[in-house]
Every structure is written in structure tokens, then in C-alpha cells.
Symmetry: C2
Subunit: 330 residues, 2 copies
DNA sequence: ATGAAAGCGCTAACAA
DNA sequence: TTGTTAGCGCTTTCAT
């Protein structure tokens, strides 16, 4: 079976290619009768236009690129899900690529996007990526770039991210309100800017309120480490009355320890986390968390992309608000 | 900034387009000196070939399509992750589309794949999809189609899926071996063929072994329902000594109840599940499960795709073996 | 070793 | 209302 083209349809009907092309687009110039004949045959032959030819001819592609460190991650998933949904609704397709947090692969993926002449790029850069220049320069090839989540800090570009400091402050406020006095606060990798922002905000909130709560600050780089750290403190004489988890990763580690030690939440120990909202609902009682919602962020990013495509050449930094979701864990 | 093309490079260097094209491909005909000049300039100008033009010219696309009900799902994610990885390694890009289990959207997505002239399609059809014909016919347009997970039952086509019955049998064997006598077995939607297969296999294993274990069979269609069912039986006089969960969804519901009732696993109650392997590791002790590994299935599917692309026109049904992963929950 | 030319499938300006 | 033509960027056959 050979593919159907405008040419073939035109030959069968004894029309010119352009007439067929116009008829299929419901162009007003073409007579109703001809349109009907063309559309009928196209349907019969199961004609689908060749996107490559259209893209080439029109220098447009109806494709967005999306680069993330990993697909297999609840946050990215929900972000992707939102962007895919919107893309389809607007007649676009999505090319999704994962960098594995490797700047080299990230670069390769970026090239793929360029080669496919995507109309826009959503990208969450890997922490190791130093050189952002090419991404920025990409916009000179009339391609819009929207950075999300982990965004370059000092450059002028389109950014969509969470109110990182806010989330930590909301958590601190809740802890203070609940009159907790001995808090184990587990943060992620010290090098990540997100860790630094959240930690600074978290601490300062206690300081500003002149609160006498004892804060134990720990940094971990995996769920397993979080689990061990939590274990260490929970079996010590000075068992914390509250654990704060900066991320879903730390939360899962901590919850494993609490189950292992048969500590009852919130009576034996309270838990509060910053989370995408999926893991907190797996436990009983559900964990109280400050939401960093990937789906919402995706919608926000897509909105920004649309503006760019519509001709907005300014750069903007959009912030997705943080929201406290009450469970029963504190 | 205007895009760089072969034409531009050729003009700058005073060469013909075809020479530039060959030089960039390291064609033996071209002199070393010319190659050097061309490559240098291409690099300086940051040239990237136009994939649309290449695809159009060569009638090949270096793109695979992938259609799933939802991206935001640990199983699909891990499947996608594997396929994306392999695709990149083989120089392909992936167009990922979600159908939301809606046959109409699935159809639209399928059209997008056709329009983009993907070289191959990975698809997990929605349970509501009745007409598989177009997918099959797609292969007549020299496009390979690989169905995965939820595959059409009676048609001749490329299928990659799990050994559904096996997984249930392995679970039953484990339960029998552990001499459990009062088992609550929670299955998914009765209409799904996967439920039917697993339930039949599970029951028959007990029957075949002449085992006197009391089986309580329940069907649920959400984690919440699983939770409620589990709660009902666990507070009854005849509390089960074991819960079998057919899926991750049921498992998460069950675990919430066990936490709520402060039942200790495995002493108060044992747990065994069929799972993709992510959720079981969130609990302590980790849940013993029979693995249905999306990542492995993705690799398997990709391998099949490669064979098809290499010219294998036979159809085959590949089965990913089930594997017992020991946790401490039974 | 290099160039000229045709053509992939389509759109759109121009002609009739 | 329909057809002719040029051209998007590239590969490839056939000259030279």
C-alpha cells in the first residue's frame, strides 16, 4: 500500500493539486460540488496530510519540545500531563525527551528539538548544566523557550516556577502554630538553589517570630539517607516531636522509619512536608503538606508559551503559589 | 536571526549545495580540505539540518509514536522511560500522546502519528476501544505497530505483555507455602480481561493444590474502594490473615487501612501484591510482590519494534515473565 | 572531486 | 472557479 498524496487524489479526479489542496481546506474559491468530490475521495482513501511537507513549506511545525531530567517522577509526569493535554487541545504535538540530568544528553536532546524545528521548548535544566546560552539563543530562531521548575537564576528569560521560599515559610508557620518545640528538618542537597532558598526561609521564619523551637537541620541526598537520619534522631533520648520534609523524596524515607518504629502520627510524632501531593495521600493519616503542583505549573507554563507564540517578546517570571493542604499528620 | 541552510553555507564557501551536503556526511568523494572548510563553517554558524526536509526527501522520519491512556502513572512512566531511552540511543525521537482512555482522543492521536509519518507506533489501547482495524491497517503504510499491556485479544498483531495468569499463580503459591488459611483477595474491575485472567488463575491454583484455604474474593474499581473493603473484613470477627492485592491501586488502598488500624505486617496480617515495584518499597516492611515491570516491558517492546523495522513482517506475541520480589510482608 | 537537476508533498502568489 | 508555477531544505542520480 502506497501513501496517498494530493497528487494522487488530483489525478483520480482530473483536478489540479492546488484545487485539491484548497478543497480540503474548505477554501471559499472552490465550488461546493468539487469540494464534496474531493473530500469524499480523501475520506475513502483515508488521506492524511504529510506534516513534514507542510512544516517545510510553511516553516512552522505544530510541535513543542519538552526536556526533563526524568519522566518517571510524579512531579514531571504531572507537569508533562498538563502540557500534553493543552498541546493537543491547541493542535500541537509534544516531543518529550529526558536528559537523565546529564548535560551532554540534554544538549543532544536540544539539538533534536532544533532539528525538528519545534515551535517552542519547555525545559527543566539539569543542576549540572552550566551553559544556558544556547537555550537563550534558540529564541533568536523564532522559537520560544520556557524554563520551568529549575530555572536559570540570573538570566533574562521566561521562567515558571514555584514560590520556593513561601512553601517553607508556610510549613514553619504551621509548626509554630502547633507549638512544636523540637523539630527535625530534613532538606535536600546543599548545592541546589532550591534547598538554599527553602532552608533560609524556614529558619528565618522561626527567628522572626522569636520562637524558641529547637531546630535540627539535616541534609540528605536520597530517600534512604532521609530514612537513616530520621531513625537516628527518633531513637535518641531527645526524640523530635515533629519532622519537616523538604521534598517527596525525603518524605518517603521518613515515613518508612516511622512505620518501622511503629510511631503513631501525629501523636508520637508530627509530620509536615513540601510535596507534589501524591505521596501524602498514601499514608494514614494523610500527611499535611504544602503543595507544589506539577499539573498547575504545566498549565501556567503553557499559558506563557501561548503568549510567546502570539508575539509577546518580553521575558517574564511566573510564580505558582504554594498552598497548604491539611492532612492529619500535625 | 535567520535559519542556516545548506544553501547558505554553499553560497558563503562558493560551493554547490550537494557538495556541502556530502561534506557534512563525511562522504568519501569529497576532499579532506573541503570537508574541513564546510564542517568548520557549519559549526561556526551552528547549523542544524532540517528534519522535515530530510524526512520529506527520504520518506523516513526517525520518530516513533507512543499512545498511552495516561502519562501520570508509574507503570506507563516506566514503560515510556525505557522506550525513550532506547529511542534516543538509536537516533529516534518519541512523540508521546495520552488518550485519557477516550477512543475519540485515541483516534486523534493516531492521526497525528500518521500525519507525522512516524516509523513505528507503540500503543496501549483504551479498554473502551472496539475497532482496532485502523491500527492494523497502519502497518500497510510501512509503519510498524507494537501493542503493549492491554493488547487486542483475538487479532494477529505484535503484542508485548505480561504473563498475567502466571503472576497470580506465583502469588497463590506463596500464600499456600506460607500456610495462610484466611485470604482476602482484592481484584480490579470485573470487566477487564486482566482481572478475569488473574482471578481464574489465582483460584485454580488453590483448587489444584487441594488447599483448604478460605478465599474471600472482592472486586473494586478504586483505591478508596479497596480501602473500604479491607477495613470491613479486618474489623470483622473473622479477620483475614492475608491480603492479596491484584494491582498497585488496590495495594495503596489496603495499606492505608492497615496503617489506620495499626495492624502490624506481617504478624497481624500478611500482604502480597502484583505490582510494578514502586509502591511496595514505600512501606515498612517492604511488601512482597510479583513484579510487572514497565521498564522491562518497554525494552522488550522496543526490541520487537527494531525487528519490525529491520524487515520482520511476522507478528509475534512476547510475554514478559513475572518475578517474585521478596519483601517482608508475608 | 564537484556540480546540476529532479523531486519528496505541500502552499500560495499569480495567471487565466 | 481552477490551473500553473515556484519554492520550502534536503538527498541522490547522473553528468562533468
Amino acid at each position: 500500500m502506497t501513501t496517498i498524496t494530493l497528487k494522487k487524489i488530483s489525478q483520480v479526479l482530473g483536478l489540479s493539486i492546488s484545487t485539491v489542496s484548497r478543497a480540503l481546506k474548505d477554501h471559499p474559491d472552490i465550488s461546493v460540488k468539487t469540494k464534496q468530490r474531493v473530500m469524499d475521495l480523501a475520506k475513502t482513501l483515508d488521506y492524511e496530510p504529510n506534516a513534514n511537507a507542510i512544516n517545510l513549506r510553511t516553516s512552522k511545525s505544530k510541535i513543542f519540545g519538552l526536556i526533563v531530567p526524568h519522566i518517571s517522577n510524579y512531579f514531571y509526569e504531572s507537569f508533562i500531563s498538563a502540557v500534553e493535554e493543552e498541546s493537543r487541545l491547541h493542535g500541537y504535538s509534544l516531543m518529550i525527551l529526558q536528559s537523565g540530568d546529564d548535560p551532554q544528553i540534554e544538549m543532544d536532546n536540544f539539538k533534536l528539538c532544533r532539528q525538528n524545528r519545534v515551535m517552542g521548548l519547555f525545559i527543566c535544566i539539569s543542576p549540572k548544566t552550566k551553559d544556558i546560552e544556547h537555550f537563550i539563543r534558540f529564541s533568536e530562531f523564532n522559537t520560544s523557550v520556557v524554563f520551568f521548575d529549575k530555572v536559570p537564576s540570573n538570566l533574562l528569560c521566561n521562567k515558571v516556577c514555584f514560590a520556593d521560599a513561601d512553601a517553607a515559610i508556610i510549613a514553619a508557620k504551621k509548626i509554630i502554630q502547633k507549638k512544636k518545640k523540637n523539630v527535625l528538618a530534613i532538606f535536600g542537597d546543599k548545592d541546589h538553589s532550591i534547598t538554599q532558598k527553602r532552608e533560609a526561609a524556614f529558619k528565618s521564619e522561626f527567628k522572626n517570630k522569636n520562637d524558641d523551637t529547637k531546630l535540627i537541620i539535616e541534609h540528605v541526598s536520597s530517600a534512604e539517607e532521609a530514612r537513616n537520619v530520621c531513625y537516628k534522631y527518633c531513637r535518641s533520648k531527645n526524640k523530635p516531636d515533629t519532622v519537616f520534609c523538604m521534598s517527596d523524596e525525603t518524605l518517603t524515607g521518613v515515613m518508612k522509619t516511622l512505620q518501622e518504629m511503629h510511631l503513631k502520627v501525629p501523636n508520637d510524632i508530627a509530620v509536615i512536608a513540601i510535596s507534589n501531593g501524591f505521596f501524602p495521600k498514601l499514608f494514614f493519616p494523610e500527611i499535611t503538606y504544602i503543595e507544589t503542583n506539577g499539573y498547575k505549573l504545566g498549565k501556567l507554563a503553557f499559558g506563557r508559551m501561548l503568549s510567546c507564540l502570539a508575539g509577546d517578546t518580553t521575558t517574564s517570571e511566573l510564580i505558582q503559589e504554594s498552598l497548604l493542604v491539611e492532612g492529619g499528620s500535625i
